[in-house]
């Protein structure tokens, strides 16, 4: 049979499957469609479900497993905290994907049987797959911050997984009085959204400034000696919120010794800091299912083949998004979306006669410092010596014209609309 293009394949649909050669794989037995199961419906999982359904929806059985009925994006959640977006505007569901034929299963994946090729859920059900995509995002390592426990998240929210935590942080922020102090502890590398903690501080400062507070302060006790877009944030904070934000690196504070959420204190070698609001963001690792299934290495994240996002631990499993070790790429929604495209191409090449193209990745991260003052960083990536490597990049410049920063913000809003359509199929 002549080689099919991906589009022709889609048009032919499932009835043609029996005639399609499937080199080195033995899927689609007994006339059944090959099964693709996706764990996690965020930027990575949603995108790949959409991409596969659009390109080969008639030829594949696609199941998307997520523990929730709806999904709040971490990206732009800082704008909700800053009062610039509604919670509804950053919350999405998978209804459009189910209309494209994706089967949405609400449940928590607890195990993967790599030999039987099944996923187990907490409710005891199992789901068979030919190809599995693992896109669980991150989990938090609570005890990486001395004294901080999972129970403390209700008092000192991390809000690093968008949802109820995000709402809680905003409630606490909105309840502050002038003269109150916020203490933020950002995570150590590597973590989801490198500029995120500093955009969050900016948005918290924006809320305090809008209220006319002149005595409120935000202290950042950073475990890292430097951070993403540092020059841009430092300049922006000086300009937009003079005297309000103080960043203290580890060479000054000497390390976080203890967080007492109930007392509202963060103790360091240097001093003990009191906060009316503590925002503690612990160290991170790949979502629990990844380590439970033996897909992680000592770093806590999942090694992948840079050409395909295929797990180096199992040829029938792909890991995309924050859970993966993606070389130079930051852990971001944009990165996850980009990685999903490469993995979708590899999966279609495995399961159908679609052509495999060379892996190419991209990312852009916009960060809002103040209304109409938005900075961005971005890059192109491709595999080099087995690692996803940056091939071209840019970053906003200090001292830029306000018009450029305002245009960046408008661009970021348009990007949000576009990428959420691409993720959720709306």
């Amino acid at each position: 049979m002549a080689k099919l293009t991906r589009r022709q394949f889609t048009l032919l649909g499932a009835t043609a499957l029996a005639n399609v050669a499937l080199p080195s794989f033995s899927f689609a037995q007994n006339g059944e469609k090959p099964k693709v199961v996706i764990i996690g419906g965020g930027a990575g999982g949603g995108t790949i479900a959409h991409q596969l359904a659009r390109d080969a929806g008639d030829a594949l059985e696609i199941t998307l497993i997520d523990q929730d009925e709806e999904y709040t994006t971490c990206f732009f959640s800082n704008l909700y905290i800053g009062g610039l977006r509604s919670f509804e505007s950053i919350t999405h569901n998978w209804d459009a994907l189910t209309r494209l034929g994706v089967k949405k299963v609400t449940g928590t994946a607890t195990g993967i049987d790599k030999t039987a090729r099944t996923v187990q859920l907490a409710d005891g059900s199992t789901h068979a797959y030919d190809m599995l995509v693992v896109a669980p995002g991150i989990d938090l390592i609570y005890d990486s911050v001395p004294g901080y426990t999972e129970a403390d998240v209700e008092i000192a929210p991390h809000a690093w997984k968008a949802g109820p935590q995000t709402k809680l942080l905003k409630e606490k922020l909105d309840a502050l009085k002038d003269g109150d102090q916020i203490v933020m502890v950002p995570p150590p590398n590597p973590y989801r959204c490198p500029p995120g903690p500093y955009e969050r501080v900016s948005m918290m400062a924006h809320v305090l400034k809008e209220k006319g507070f002149t005595e409120a302060k935000i202290i950042i006790l950073d475990p890292k000696p430097k951070f993403s877009k540092q020059g841009l944030f430092s300049e922006g904070w000086e300009k937009e919120y003079p005297g309000m934000i103080e960043w203290i690196g580890p060479d000054i504070h000497g390390g976080i010794k203890n967080v007492d959420a109930k007392a509202g204190t963060v103790e360091t070698d240097f001093d003990t800091f009191q906060g009316a609001l503590l925002n503690i963001v612990p160290a991170q690792k790949a979502g629990e299912i990844a380590s439970a299934a033996g897909l992680t290495d000592d770093s806590g994240y999942c090694p992948i083949d840079a050409e395909s996002m295929r797990s180096t631990m199992d040829e029938n499993i792909f890991v995309i998004g924050d859970a993966s070790i993606a070389g130079d790429m930051p852990k971001s929604g944009f990165s996850a979306n980009s990685q999903a495209k490469v993995a979708a191409n590899a999966i279609l090449a495995d399961l159908t006669d679609a052509r495999k193209f060379p892996a190419r990745y991209a990312n852009t991260c916009w960060s809002l410092i103040a209304t109409q003052n938005d900075v961005k960083v971005g890059a192109q990536y491709e595999p080099n010596d087995g690692k996803i490597t940056s091939t071209a990049s840019f970053i906003s410049q200090t001292g830029e014209e306000p018009a450029i920063r305002a245009a960046n913000y408008e661009e970021s809003v348009a990007w949000y609309e576009a990428i959420t359509k691409d993720i959720f199929g709306t």
């Binding site: 659009r54 052509r355 190419r360 991209a362 971005g378 840019f394 576009a418």
Partner: protein
């Protein structure tokens, strides 16, 4: 190509991509790099784009330009259904630095003639 022909083409492109070209179209006669743009467009337009490859590469574009196009008032334009030459020209203008937007300039820095031809072939076939 004569200069008047080139300007005519640019004027034609302008109707499609006016929001992005404002302020740069007037540079065509004075900016010496525009000859570089013209030469590249002439070369790439001869290449038969691979629409499957273009579709794959477009995965990067839709993250900002949206799968079915952006809103009318969006600062990021819809690009589906543009004329092939207009698409090639816009991409080349970013690659040469004639047009400036860091996201697009960086995206195009890694695109060879083959990639631009394929993206243009794919996007020109999409509905507006």
């Amino acid at each position: 190509m004569t200069k008047s022909h080139s300007l005519h083409r640019l004027a034609h492109s302008f109707c499609f991509i006016a929001p992005m070209l404002l302020g740069t179209a007037a540079m065509a006669e004075t900016n010496p790099s525009y000859e570089e743009v013209e030469r590249a467009v002439e070369t790439i337009i001869q290449i038969e784009g691979d629409t499957d490859y273009g579709e794959y590469l477009s995965g990067e574009c839709v993250a900002c330009h949206a799968p079915a196009g952006t809103a009318k008032d969006s600062p990021i334009p819809s690009i589906a259904g543009w004329r092939r030459e207009d698409l090639i020209r816009a991409m080349v203008e970013y690659r040469t630095g004639y047009r400036e937007n860091p996201v697009m300039t960086t995206a195009m820095a890694t695109k060879g003639d083959e990639e631009i031809a394929s993206l243009a072939a794919w996007y020109s076939e999409q509905g507006q």
